[in-house]
């Protein structure tokens, strides 16, 4: 292998290690288990979203609605428990159903209505941003809030639900690993195995690479594409559940950064190990990368607005790694 091959293959891993080393020296308290866990916790939600969007990238699509699916799920969970006074299971099911429905609609728009993927999911994003505020007329949802009709909502988040976002599992050090991180790891392993080792994942890659060839090889291409958006929708709604459980309220102002962070993680994933294609492992590394970057910058007291700039810059560099250096972007 030439130096260039090494750069393509390991460039991003080296960059990640370098970044961690830099923050460990420059920022006090960065190099500790607690800090690591904090990074993972902050990564958990964007990571889950990023894994979902990876599925759509694999079939050659894109999903811009993931952020608003997550916040819609968060609002739905809050509404179910606080206003409708339902239990945790009902709230979780409601969220997942929203994810499935949005995924089906996205898939239908793209596959049958022939709306380009970016535009269809962009439309869906705006639609959901509005829709999620209609039931409460734009108010955030919390126990004791006043409803539009003047009544007071008395339901509250169930303990079991909140545990999804707040409970920590003992791991060598007591109360170390948050449940949300476990969810992330499980979903990452699942989607990784699905994409790499099952025939369905294989066919999804084929659909993304050459749709006509996949169709002539007997694949139900339309179904695969719709499924990819359903996976994306469901993962985004799981992200929304974790968000609701962490916040303990339905905060209409939260989740603004979810889309950018998740998309950045998935696209950075292209560059990891020179894969030059969407892949679950790369997405996970990409999510950690974004998390490390944000945690490090925060601990070094960088203002919040520089963080978006740095994220964007890293994303651009990652895309250059993928498309220019590996030369696979060319036909």
């Amino acid at each position: 292998m030439t130096l260039r091959d090494y750069a393509i293959r390991y460039g991003f891993i080296v960059l990640l290690v370098g970044l961690i080393a830099y923050f460990a020296i420059a920022a006090d308290g960065f190099a500790s288990p607690q800090s690591a866990v904090f990074i993972f916790q902050s990564v958990a939600i964007t990571g889950v979203l990023a894994l979902g969007v990876t599925a759509t990238l694999v079939v050659g699509g894109f999903d811009l609605s993931i952020g608003s699916v997550a916040t819609s799920a968060m609002m739905a969970a809050s509404y179910a428990m606080v206003v409708l006074e339902q239990n945790a299971i009902v709230a979780v099911i409601a969220c997942l159903v929203i994810g499935v429905i949005v995924g089906l609609i996205n898939g239908w728009l793209i596959v049958y209505m022939r709306v380009p993927d970016l535009l269809a999911t962009l439309g869906m994003m705006f639609l959901l941003l509005g829709l999620q505020r209609i039931p409460t007329e734009g108010r955030s949802i919390a126990t004791g809030m006043t409803m539009p009709d003047g009544s007071v909502a008395n339901g509250k988040f169930s303990e079991a639900f909140l545990a999804l976002g707040r409970h920590r599992i003992d791991f060598f050090i007591p109360n170390l690993i948050p449940v949300s991180v476990v969810v992330l790891v499980v979903l990452a392993l699942l989607i990784w195995f699905f994409l790499e080792y099952t025939r369905f994942g294989r066919m999804m890659y084929a659909v993304g690479s050459n749709e006509r060839a996949a169709e002539l090889a007997g694949a139900p291409v339309k179904a695969y594409k719709i499924w990819a958006y359903v996976i994306s929708g469901v993962f985004a709604s799981i992200g929304g559940i974790l968000l609701a459980a962490r916040l303990g309220r339905g905060d209409i102002a939260s989740g603004n950064n979810l889309l950018l962070d998740a998309v950045a993680a998935a696209l950075i994933g292209y560059a990891v190990l020179g894969a030059a294609k969407p892949n679950a492992f790369g997405t996970a590394v990409g999510a950690v990368f974004v998390g490390v970057l944000l945690q490090g910058l925060t601990m070094m007291n960088a203002p919040y607005y520089t963080q978006d700039f740095v994220k964007g810059a890293v994303l651009v560099v990652a895309l250059v790694f993928t498309f220019a250096l590996s030369g696979r972007g060319k036909r």
Binding site: Y197, T198, R199, F200, R202, M203, Y205, A206, G208, S209, N210, R212, A213, A214, E215, L216, A217, G218, A219, P220, K277
Partner: protein, 503 residues
């Protein structure tokens, strides 16, 4: 004579990597003459055209236009110097969403000296002048996308002629035209010839060549293999020079089949086309030949379930066969190696092994999980059997030559047993040795299945098939046993000549 030539090419060479495509081409074009360039697939015709039209840079050699050195760096430079090319793909020559008038004057809108604004009235007047000079009777306000293929072709040529070129190159202009449409093109070419344009006409349609040629230049394997300019022209000799051998040599021993595997009754492919009926037997290789655009691919796709026939029924092994999708066709045992491997075959991100296993993932997995060992074994067996040149089954397809890529596509569908094996243009962009390998393998493995290949080149059919069917205008117009073929009759059928002649 070389001194009088308007356009003179000497010792042109071009290589792509190790592969020498042009090995020293010399060519003269004369004003007011149509020079026909003949050559089989891969002879280097399109490379030559691309060098002359400024798309490729030449490796060695020199070009002269009207005595001046001609060295275009870009297609635009070639056009400005007076060498205009109408490429095979018509839609490259026109902008479909604009109207005819704008298309005819498009080149005035860009380039040096173009004014920033334009008056629609001026554009139309200018377009009218161009159209009149060509004898083109078209509504100038019609959108090009609403025109027939032939009319688009006329617009593309007229647009090229708006530059008033000294040299006009036409790359297989009739490949998608009906014979009536072709006649209109020919009278246009006659007109241009009368105006003193030197025309290089690339085709292997004999009827075109007989109609137009003043001279014939045959190419084979990147060199000129014959120049024919004595009247009357020796067409037979030109074909032989192009193929490099007598067409009657190197033939297969035709087999006949006793047991029918696939039958079609009254299959109608297009509105107004005569229905097709045929029977394909076990162990025989049947070739369907015909020009581009006569419905070969439509028939292949109908048999494979990705296109519905307008009428008719099909049977496979005696059972009704009416596939509604590729998936159903594959399940019934009909496999298709589709035309144009880059667009409809190769999965770019996949290596050889994964490209081969693609249609059979279900058979190579348990509970949805891929059995990688089974995949590898199948791939290695195919690499071995077809002689695919590669380092291992993990090679990316982009690392393989065209011939080997095509072998992988054939290997994909040979890795499992089929009942009806269809190959649409399996020898396109394939070198001669790979072509022989594929043909030999097809014949050797044909035993229990029916094999159907669609080829435009007649000699590919002669080399491979036991039986040859000829298609024209979306139906089958002739059938020949590959024994002692009446080649003239076959060629007449291919060229849309008298249907079902007495012979």
């Amino acid at each position: 004579m070389g001194a009088d030539a308007v356009f003179h090419v000497e010792g042109l060479r071009k290589s792509f990597g190790q592969n020498e495509v042009l090995g020293g081409i010399s060519l003269d074009l004369f004003a007011g003459e149509v020079t026909v360039l003949m050559g089989a697939n891969g002879a280097g015709k399109s490379t030559l055209v691309k060098i002359v039209s400024g798309v490729y840079e030449r490796g060695a050699g020199s070009m002269k236009l009207a005595g001046q050195a001609f060295d275009p760096q870009t297609p635009a430079e070639a056009i400005r110097a007076g060498v205009v090319t109408v490429h095979q793909n018509i839609n490259d020559g026109v902008v479909a969403d604009l109207d005819v008038a704008t298309n005819l004057t498009l080149d005035r809108l860009s380039g040096k000296g173009a004014s920033l604004l334009f008056k629609p009235a001026n554009v139309r007047a200018e377009a009218r002048a161009v159209a009149d000079r060509m004898g083109l009777a078209l509504d100038l306000r019609a959108r090009v996308s609403d025109l027939s293929l032939a009319d688009r072709q006329m617009v593309a040529i007229a647009r090229a002629m708006a530059h008033q070129p000294k040299v006009l190159i036409l790359d297989e202009p009739t490949s998608s035209l009906s014979s009536a449409e072709a006649d209109r093109l020919f009278s246009l070419i006659d007109r241009l010839r009368g105006q003193g344009v030197a025309i290089l006409y690339i085709s292997h349609r004999m009827s075109d060549i007989r109609r137009l040629a003043d001279r014939i230049v045959s190419m084979r394997d990147g060199v000129v293999s014959g120049v024919f300019d004595k009247q009357p022209l020796d067409y037979e000799g030109a074909v032989n020079a192009m193929l490099g051998r007598k067409i009657h040599l190197d033939r297969v021993v035709a087999r006949s089949s006793a047991r029918a595997v696939f039958t079609a009754e009254g299959l109608q492919l297009a509105q107004g086309a005569k229905p097709i009926s045929m029977t394909l037997g076990a162990g025989e290789v049947v070739a369907i030949t015909g020009l581009v655009g006569v419905g070969k691919t439509a028939l292949a796709e109908t048999l494979f379930g990705v296109r519905r026939p307008l009428a008719g029924t099909m049977h496979m092994d005696g059972k009704p066969y009416a596939p509604g999708s590729a998936r159903e066709a594959i399940a019934a045992g009909a496999f298709l190696v589709a035309k144009d491997r880059a667009a409809s075959g190769i999965v770019g991100g996949f290596n050889i092994e994964r490209n081969i296993s693609l249609p059979f993932l279900k058979r190579m997995s348990g509970f949805g999980v891929m059995k990688k060992r089974a995949e590898r074994v199948a791939a290695r067996r195919q690499i071995d059997e077809l002689g695919i040149v590669c380092r291992s089954e993990k090679d990316e397809l982009s690392a393989l030559s065209g011939g080997n890529q095509q072998k992988v596509m054939v290997a994909r569908w040979m890795s499992q047993a089929s009942r009806l094996f269809i190959l649409d243009e399996p020898f396109q962009g394939v070198d001669i040795s790979a072509r022989r390998d594929i043909a030999a393998k097809l014949r050797a493995s044909a035993d229990s299945r029916a094999t159907l290949i669609f080829v435009t080149e007649i000699d590919e059919a002669l080399e491979t098939a036991d039986r040859i069917l000829v298609m024209s205008e979306h139906t089958v117009v002739g059938e020949h046993r590959n024994g002692d073929i009446d080649l003239d009759r076959l060629l007449a059928e291919v060229a849309g000549g008298p249907l079902h002649s007495a012979a």
